[in-house]
């Protein structure tokens, strides 16, 4: 409760609005009090993928791929094979049946090759190198046990890296993003267009076919990203805050926001964020979008922005993502990482409403906050707040992306300063060390 009082004051002060929100050094809610830099890459580290509960792989512009242990910071395998920067990386998880198969890491590089690596042995399994252009996106379709590569065309591969089928060429910059849709469909972003492919397979799994079944042109700008929100919806975004929520089954658009950053209260008129690059992520109910310096939470259900921070960052966002605990992490160009928390606003009667943010009762809001919201809902639908709970400063150059180990409570970030940093929660780590210590004591006394 107290936090709400404190937190809700932040956007209210006029002075703070003019400058970027800054939390200062005292971050009582920031749990990350241990960091471990991992220094092995010799170029920008661009990609991180989680392999299992304790391993992850990193790939960088140096063409190196490393498999790390997040608990010890050890390199389990160095995967050397690419000569140029890695352009995409994906983990092809082993199927439950038959047992004994290992996870595969698939990496593509700008020298127009794809290499499949064995995660357990660190060996190079297959190398494919007959691509017309760099493969920029890779996606695994587990239901069919195949993976797709998207470059100038879309190709479908099986686990043994045999080409099953492919589409025709797309000259206009090729395919920049691929996601899996229900009913063995795939959505691909080609320029401003969204193309839906249908993947079909014969009864005995020997005849594969991929065909374009729909091409939709809604975006004014080229599509930046595609994400699956849940089984029923996916979202696409392009620069300048264009956000489209799509129905995943019939590919009609569910809602369309031509400029998500425009939604804010009429008091904040300046439109500085036009044409700003946009990044989105989702927690299944909301789409979190970073546009320019602002950060917005778009409720899919309510079809409007429910929380925002207009001055969230003082530099470009390169990546945003969700943590399981309603937290949002944004990776910034200046090397810092910000952690946000989405909180529903509860306004007791006693607290004066300082600005015009809130007015009438809210309706049509199906998520959790709705049940908590009392008798007031702001006129513009802002029912929640995004609070900055901490920033992680460690990288000296732009942070490319992050991954989160839920079991380990650790955040792993990678950056253009060639470092990977593992951020851990000091309290948990301390407790774990104590447990380990007493376990060792027990063992040695039993011996």
């Amino acid at each position: 409760m107290l936090r709400w009082f404190l937190g809700s004051r932040e956007p209210q002060s006029g002075a703070e609005k003019s400058s970027v929100l800054n939390i200062g050094e005292e971050q009582t809610q920031n749990p990350y009090t241990e960091l471990s830099p991992l220094q092995e890459h010799q170029g920008t580290v661009r990609f991180l993928v989680q392999i299992d509960d304790f391993r992850f792989a990193s790939a960088g512009d140096d063409g190196f791929v490393f498999v790390w242990d997040v608990k010890t910071g050890e390199i389990l395998f160095p995967l050397h094979g690419h000569l140029q920067e890695i352009s995409a990386m994906v983990v092809f998880k082993a199927p439950k049946f038959p047992e004994g198969m290992s996870n595969i890491i698939i990496t593509s590089s700008s020298e127009r090759t794809i290499i499949a690596w064995d995660c357990e042995s660190g060996l190079q399994l297959y190398k494919i190198s007959d691509f017309q252009s760099t493969v920029k996106s890779l996606v695994v379709i587990h239901s069919l046990d195949v993976w797709l590569s998207g470059g100038s065309d879309v190709r479908v591969w099986n686990r043994d890296c045999q080409l099953l089928c492919k589409t025709g060429y797309y000259v206009d910059g090729g395919i920049s993003a691929l996601i899996e849709l229900p009913k063995t469909c795939v959505a691909a972003a080609v320029g401003k267009d969204l193309i839906i492919f249908k993947l079909s397979v014969s009864e005995n799994f020997d005849q594969w076919n991929i065909s374009e079944i729909k091409c939709i042109s809604v975006h004014q700008h080229s599509i930046q990203a595609l994400i699956n929100i849940n089984d029923l919806m996916f979202a696409s975004c392009s620069d300048a805050g264009e956000l489209v929520i799509w129905d995943a089954v019939d590919w009609r658009f569910h809602s369309f926001e031509s400029n998500i950053s425009d939604i804010s209260s009429p008091h904040d008129s300046p439109q500085e964020a036009t044409l700003a690059p946009m990044h989105i992520s989702t927690d299944g109910e909301n789409v979190f979008a970073a546009v320019g310096r602002g950060l917005f939470v778009y409720s899919v259900q309510a079809r409007r922005v429910i929380a925002l921070q207009k001055k969230a960052h003082d530099s470009n966002v390169l990546y945003i993502g969700n943590l399981p605990n309603r937290q949002l992490v944004s990776c910034l160009d200046d090397g810092s990482v910000r952690i946000w928390e989405l909180r529903s606003k509860v306004h007791p009667h006693a607290e004066p409403v300082p600005t015009g943010f809130f007015s009438m009762l809210g309706f049509g809001k199906a998520n959790k906050q709705a049940s908590q919201s009392l008798n007031k809902v702001p006129e513009n639908g802002i029912v929640a707040s995004l609070d900055l709970i901490g920033d992680l400063i460690g990288h000296s150059s732009s942070v490319q992306m992050f991954i989160y180990f839920e079991e380990d409570h650790s955040l792993v970030t990678c950056s253009a300063d060639q470092l990977i940093i593992i951020w851990k929660e000091g309290k948990i780590e301390s407790r774990l060390r104590s447990q380990l210590l007493f376990k060792i004591l027990d063992e040695s006394s039993n011996r």
């Binding site: 971050q27 960091l35 910071g73 380990l436």
Partner: protein, 936 residues
């Protein structure tokens, strides 16, 4: 031999003082009396007035059969060392106390001469006239040409400080035994060679004689009966007898009971590769094999020991009687050059190691022992160099005799001795020179103390009475033999006992001795002595010499106690031997029960009532004095500081005591250092190749660090937050333009930086490039160059970027940017009004407080309920509450001090887990705490 009635009894013994009353919290091993300040100029370190020499030295003398006792050499080999001290005279003294009958000759019932493998005898004696006290180590070396084949030698450690000799007796004994072993090993080898040559000579002579006889018989049929022929025949018979004798001798020397040595030593006869003594201090060249020596052309007498094949036998004339005009072999010839050099090296190292005041040596040992016991937490604040040498030592200790490795425990034992003060009183009382004046207070104290003793701990009384005393002999000289080998060997048993209290310490011994003396009233005392332990073949046991034993009540008990000791079974055969022999040579006292001893004790005390006490003489209680104060555990106590202050006085002395050349080098280094503020890194290269025990250089570094730290806390009002940063694991960056100045600050602050492991401290004294996050993880104290360009330069940018992880001390502008410190701990640790003047003192002060902190961290780390949930349904908050309560109530820590201990605890955990073999992610721990800018 000992004839003059000049008697020194324990004139310099300590005045008895009651242990500190009213300090129940103090462990009793630290309850030692304060230094009495009766005399203005009395200082524990003032040299006794009688001493004619300036520093301790080692003397090797020989009892020559031609010229009598003569000094051979001193270590250090510098005439100034001895000064006016009469070496000849002292040689006479020390050689004359060798009571052992090194029996060689024709024992009854044996037709051949027998070699006696005599163990060395070790005595402590004092000479009041010369003001010298000495640990004397007698040994015999074999020489075919010498009378009875033996040449008695002795090595003596001579010091003006009797206390030092007594306190370090066991150590000295152990170390000199090694030197002696080294000499004897070489000697046996040389002796065997000599015997073999002699045998060849004899064989040759015999063959020549035989040929002569044969020739004579051929030329002259009646030749058998001519006098000439009879002479020849006799000669031949003599030669043959001689051959048999020598063969027997050779056999004996070759059968030298190597079992005496530790079995794992796989000590091969006459192979010098493995003599343990040569490796004691880890000479890297220990592997230098004997063959080297033999082939070494530079060795003058190596030519004598050429491989056997090359030896040309000589004809030995009959009756080549031993004459006094022949030249005796030198020591070097006797023991083989290689071994001689090794021994001298060893002794030189010994001399170096025992330099300085006894209190200093004792404290260092005590310190190290205690620290060694804290294997889990000691890495935090101990400097790596010490640890390296320790690891080094440990490696060898495993191979070497057990006595060496356990010396440290002796000190514990000594310090734990509650009876110690009374010992001094009794000896004091019994001193023949003492003037019959009684001071009532002394009496009181004495009585009270004794009562406590008797009522309090019977066992203990029994223990300290169960001291091996062989007896006293009256001979009337100024020499006191304070202790001899038997008691030492007894004590050395105790070293192997895990229970430190079981056995008497030297102090207890002394008490006993003095008690005896009151009764005997001999003017000269050999306080205790024993025949040297002799290892004899079984058939030889009967001829074992029994020493003069006047009072022998407790040896048996001692033996029993030893056998009953938990480790007794594990002792080497030596002890078994001893135990076997002891009953044979000891006169059993029937009344040796502890109770009886107590009764015996009381007359002494009553005597004390009526006799004498003297105005307290300037006595030296340095070690005790110091201990009390260190353990007082309160840095604010002035006594602590004074004590520290006083202790540090020894340091310049030790420098002063160096040989002139060394001293010169040192001083020039000092000079250089003060000029360029070079830190220890630069001095390391100056180290002498031989491994110094604890090098004076690191001492010097400590002193310098302490001095700089003192300067820092006096000059900078914000020293507390700076130190707090370091102790709580926050990197401190010292920013400045001038490298020397920054480095000096870094040196000053370095003493507060906890180690993360056994590696070097995480300090980077000088960095010139912008820092990144890895630097903050790796280094906890960084000296950083300020770049000349205005703000916005990469260095300042990176600093401001990472200000969360680092405190910044701006050396040029005298500002500090770091979190606030609210706590009481640093008030004591870094008090800017401190009375401490000397750097080394302050260093020790800090070190003691840090050690205290690490023990708190240890408690926190290993207290289960403060770390983990007890019940499965325990919530995390309750653990936190428990931990907070633990820290606050049990460890008495306030909020910020608590963070220090928590950080240290994390280090402990990490270290422990890592040592156990589990790999952990090396992490930079930090907190989100706002910083404040401090200005002067």
């Amino acid at each position: 031999m000992i004839g003059s009635p000049d008697v020194v009894a324990f004139t310099r013994e300590e005045v008895y003082e009651e242990p500190l009353q009213g300090s129940p919290g103090l462990p009793e091993e630290y309850s030692v009396p304060l230094f009495p300040f009766q005399e203005a100029d009395s200082s524990p370190w003032s040299r006794p007035p009688g001493a004619k020499f300036s520093k301790d030295f080692i003397l090797i003398s020989e009892f020559s059969e031609q010229v009598g006792p003569q000094p051979l050499l001193t270590i250090p080999d510098d005439p100034r060392v001895c000064g006016a001290f009469d070496l000849n005279y002292f040689s006479l003294r020390i050689m004359s106390v060798d009571y052992q009958a090194s029996f060689v000759g024709h024992p009854p019932g044996s037709s051949y001469p027998k070699l006696n493998f005599v163990e060395d005898s070790k005595v402590v004696l004092g000479d009041s006239k010369e003001g010298a006290f000495a640990y004397v180590h007698h040994l015999t070396l074999y020489d075919l040409e010498a009378r009875g084949f033996v040449r008695p030698f002795c090595m003596a450690y001579i010091s003006a400080d009797e206390d030092k000799i007594m306190q370090l007796f066991l150590e000295l004994s152990g170390d000199f035994s090694k030197a002696s072993d080294c000499l004897k090993t070489g000697n046996r080898k040389a002796f065997a060679n000599e015997l073999e040559k002699k045998l060849k000579d004899l064989e040759y002579t015999r063959s020549v004689l035989l040929a002569h006889l044969e020739e004579q018989r051929k030329t002259d049929g009646k030749g058998f009966y001519t006098t000439q022929a009879i002479d020849k025949a006799n000669e031949l018979a003599n030669v043959e007898k001689s051959i048999i004798e020598h063969q027997d001798l050779l056999k004996q020397i070759q059968q030298y009971p190597y079992r005496k040595l530790k079995p794992e030593d796989d000590f091969q006869p006459f192979l010098p590769e493995s003599p343990c003594d040569c490796t004691v201090t880890g000479e890297p060249e220990r592997a230098a094999p004997s063959s080297d020596t033999e082939e070494n052309p530079a060795d003058e007498e190596a030519s004598e020991y050429h491989p056997r094949a090359s030896y040309t036998p000589k004809f030995i004339k009959a009756k080549s009687a031993k004459c006094f005009d022949k030249k005796m072999k030198t020591l070097k010839e006797l023991v083989d050059v290689y071994f001689f050099v090794q021994t001298i090296d060893l002794l030189t190292r010994l001399e170096r190691r025992y330099r300085g005041d006894v209190s200093y040596l004792l404290m260092r040992h005590l310190d190290q022992t205690l620290l060694e016991q804290q294997a889990i937490s000691n890495f935090l604040f101990e400097d790596a160099s010490t640890w390296n040498t320790k690891a080094f030592d440990r490696r060898y200790e495993e191979k070497l005799d057990a006595s060496q490795s356990l010396h440290d425990s002796k000190y514990l034992e000594e310090e734990q001795d509650p009876v110690k003060p009374s010992a001094s009183l009794e000896s004091y009382k019994s001193s023949v020179e003492s003037v019959p004046i009684k001071i009532e207070q002394d009496l009181f104290e004495e009585n009270g103390h004794t009562e406590v003793l008797i009522q309090g701990d019977q066992v203990e009384v029994a223990e300290y009475l169960d001291v091996d005393i062989k007896g006293s002999i009256s001979s009337g000289d100024s020499i006191e033999v304070l202790r001899t080998e038997r008691s030492a060997s007894m004590l050395s048993h105790s070293e192997s006992q895990p229970c430190l209290r079981l056995h008497p310490s030297p102090q207890q011994l002394r008490r006993k001795h003095s008690g005896r003396r009151t009764i005997s009233e001999d003017s000269i005392e050999v306080l205790s002595m024993c025949p040297s332990e002799t290892i004899i073949p079984e058939d030889f046991r009967a001829s074992y010499q029994i020493a003069i034993n006047e009072e022998e009540p407790c040896v048996d008990e001692e033996c029993e106690e030893l056998t009953s000791g938990p480790d007794a079974a594990g002792r080497s055969e030596t002890s078994v031997n001893e135990l076997l022999i002891d009953p044979a040579c000891c006169i059993r006292g029937d009344d040796s029960s502890p109770v009886q001893q107590n009764v015996d004790l009381s007359p002494d005390i009553s005597v004390g009532d009526t006799i004498v006490s003297v105005p307290p003489q300037p006595c030296r209680l340095p070690d005790r004095n110091f201990q009390v104060k260190v353990c007082v555990d309160n840095a604010e106590s002035p006594s602590m500081e004074t004590a520290c202050h006083r202790l540090s006085v020894t340091e310049p002395e030790s420098v002063h005591l160096l040989s002139s050349r060394e001293a010169k080098r040192m001083s020039s280094e000092e000079h250089l250092d003060s000029l360029s503020h070079k830190s220890s890194a630069s001095t390391c290269s100056d180290r002498t190749p031989s491994p110094p025990p604890i090098s004076s250089l690191s001492e010097r570094h400590k002193r310098k660090a302490g001095q700089n730290a003192l300067m820092f806390i006096r000059q900078y009002p914000f020293s507390h937050p700076a130190i707090y940063s370091l102790l709580s694991g926050r990197t401190l960056v010292v920013l400045g333009e001038e490298e020397a100045f920054v480095k000096r600050l870094v040196t000053a602050l370095s003493i507060f930086v906890p180690n993360c492991g056994h590696s070097a401290k995480p300090i980077k004294p000088w960095a010139t490039s912008p820092l990144n996050i890895v630097d903050f993880q790796k280094w906890k104290l960084i000296g950083l160059q300020r770049d000349a360009s205005p703000p916005g330069s990469p260095i300042t940018q990176s600093l401001s970027r990472y200000r969360r992880y680092a405190s910044v001390l701006d050396a040029d502008n005298k500002t500090l940017c770091c979190p606030v410190y609210k706590g009481s701990l640093l008030q004591r640790m870094a008090d800017h009004r401190t009375q401490i003047r000397k750097g080394s003192t302050y260093y020790m002060h800090v070190q003691s407080m840090l050690t205290q902190l690490s023990s708190k961290a240890f408690l926190l780390t290993f207290c289960h309920h403060a770390q983990l949930r007890i019940h499965p349904d325990d919530v995390e908050e309750s653990v936190c509450q428990r931990r907070a309560a633990f820290l606050h109530q049990l460890l008495g820590l306030s909020q910020d001090d608590r963070k220090i201990v928590e950080y240290l605890s994390e280090l402990l955990k990490t270290h422990y887990v890592t040592e156990a073999g589990t790999q952990l992610l090396p992490a930079l721990r930090f907190n989100y705490i706002p910083s404040i800018l401090y200005k002067i």
